[in-house]
């Protein structure tokens, strides 16, 4: 009898160890696939693109119908548009999130608004492009310009930023709010002095996703900001600019000599990835600086 119990126990233990190994293996494998895919894409871009990169490529405008020369106007354009999108999306997103989490009475209407914001996140980017064309370019007469493109991209990343900001605001302990309010400090001062500073690192973390998206989108800027070709640099926010994603699209589909510009295309992709990463890096540095004092 004891033997039977023992062997049963052993078997059941073995089965449990096997199950554990199986699930750990599956989870590891999934992580590995993602890492490999990401690494593979990066490797492919770098190998194919690095040849095109040199000082002239990043400091000179395109020449010879964009088959030669650099991509400097597009780099600058993408940086302008991304900064513009952040300048519009971040304050608006944070303000909305503050309203939703701190001021609004939680109820059906707020739930409806939140569902709406989530839906907005799922709207195809080309729809945002058409929205930007209709409202900013045509109705508000901003024309195809940095301003129109920034506004369109700003609205595109709004749901991401609102979501991140909401989570970050909720993560600030309620006891901080109570402590501040119990001192006779007003609600707005409490939010501005206590809640927001403690939520900012979290808000930035979420916003990094939005920044990447703003820099990389093609469809929203096609109708609102991007020029097919302009060697001249923008003089004001009402000027058209070249932009990296659109430049890649143009070279790869509508260029004068698609095959001959392959290296330039890969070079441009590599630069786009580098620009997005460096903007992210700035956000990460700001975040880690702000996190230094955070401990609770």
């Amino acid at each position: 009898m004891e033997d039977i119990m023992k062997s049963f126990k052993n078997n059941s233990m073995k089965w449990r160890y096997f199950k554990q190994a199986l699930f750990f293996g599956a989870v590891r494998f999934s992580a590995l696939i993602i890492a490999l895919a990401l690494g593979g894409i990066l490797f492919y871009i770098i190998v194919n693109g690095i040849g095109a990169i040199n000082w002239d490529f990043i400091t000179k405008p395109p020449t010879d119908s964009m088959t030669k020369g650099g991509i400097m106007p597009a780099i600058l354009g993408t940086i302008y548009l991304t900064i513009g999108a952040i300048a519009i999306g971040l304050p608006l997103g944070i303000a909305s999130a503050i309203y939703l989490t701190e001021y609004a009475k939680q109820g059906r209407i707020i739930r409806l608004i939140k569902v709406g914001i989530n839906c907005l996140a799922g709207v195809p980017s080309v729809v945002f492009g058409l929205f930007g064309l209709g409202s900013f370019v045509i109705f508000l007469k901003f024309g195809s310009s940095i301003l129109s493109g920034s506004l369109t991209l700003g609205f595109l990343i709004l749901p991401t930023i609102i979501g991140a900001a909401e989570e970050a605001l909720k993560a600030v302990p309620q006891t901080f709010r109570e402590a501040s309010l119990s001192l006779g400090v007003s609600k707005w001062q409490t939010i501005y002095r206590i809640v927001l500073p403690n939520a900012l690192p979290g808000i930035l973390t979420g916003s990094i996703l939005g920044i990447g998206r703003a820099a990389g989108e093609t469809a929203p800027i096609m109708f609102t900001a991007a020029a097919y070709f302009t060697a001249k640099l923008p003089g004001s926010i009402f000027d058209e600019v070249m932009a990296l994603p659109y430049h890649i699209y143009v070279l790869a589909t509508a260029g004068t000599n698609i095959e001959a510009t392959r290296p330039i295309q890969f070079g441009t992709v590599l630069v786009l990835v580098a620009v997005v990463l460096s903007i992210d890096l700035i956000a990460i540095i700001i975040r880690s600086y702000m996190r230094k004092n955070k401990r609770w």
Binding site: L181, S182, L183, V185, R193, I194, N198
Partner: protein
Amino acid sequence: MDSNIIIKLNKVNFYYGQSRALTDITMNFRKNKVSALIGPSGCGKSTLLRLLNRMNDLIDGTKVEGEILFEDMNIYSKDVDPVEIRRKVGMVFQKPNPFPKTIYNNISYGPKLTSMNTDDLDALVEQSLKQAVLWDEVKDILNKSAMNLSGGQQQRLCIARALAMKPDILLMDEPTSALDPISTAKIEELIEELKKNYTIIIVTHNMQQAARISDETAFFYLGNLVEYNKTEKIFTNPDVKHTEDYITGRFG
């Protein structure tokens, strides 16, 4: 009104949504005394405490009936700003909750933002920390984060922070329940000292603490005020049998 009375509750009912948390509470808190609120969990004592500085306003769907007079002014009347009330009625919470700021900025935060007379902020910080008997321990590290302090020090910092607003009343919601016995003793000594200048209303689960530090004790049960008397009387010869049962540990 008797000039010794600072807060007067008149038939106060309080509701969380549909459920009633306090029933017909009528009682007076006396100036420069320590009043203890005791009773089993969920009896409404913390709810009552948070009514006195309108902290319950933060919770959606609550309702107050009756009146609470603070120096003859109904603090729940429409033209009273809760922010003004909270400046006069300070609060110390169950868990120490310093801001993630320096010790100095924790104290100066309230006075700076509420446009108090802050000519000499340094002096105010020093005075508040001295009142909370924390000055000697922190005078050299005022610019270090308050999060580095021990739990007991943090709680005394929170008391100093409340005192910096120069309130009339100090509400304490189980201020020692998260602290070790030595820190608890320090806070109790401090309360003894503070009652010379402040009215203190303290919620506690610790019966000995109520007996040690308070002048008056109120026993709550299921949202009702069962007995409110001199502490001595409550702990030696209570009027109500129910109170005696609770204090002697026969239920609760």
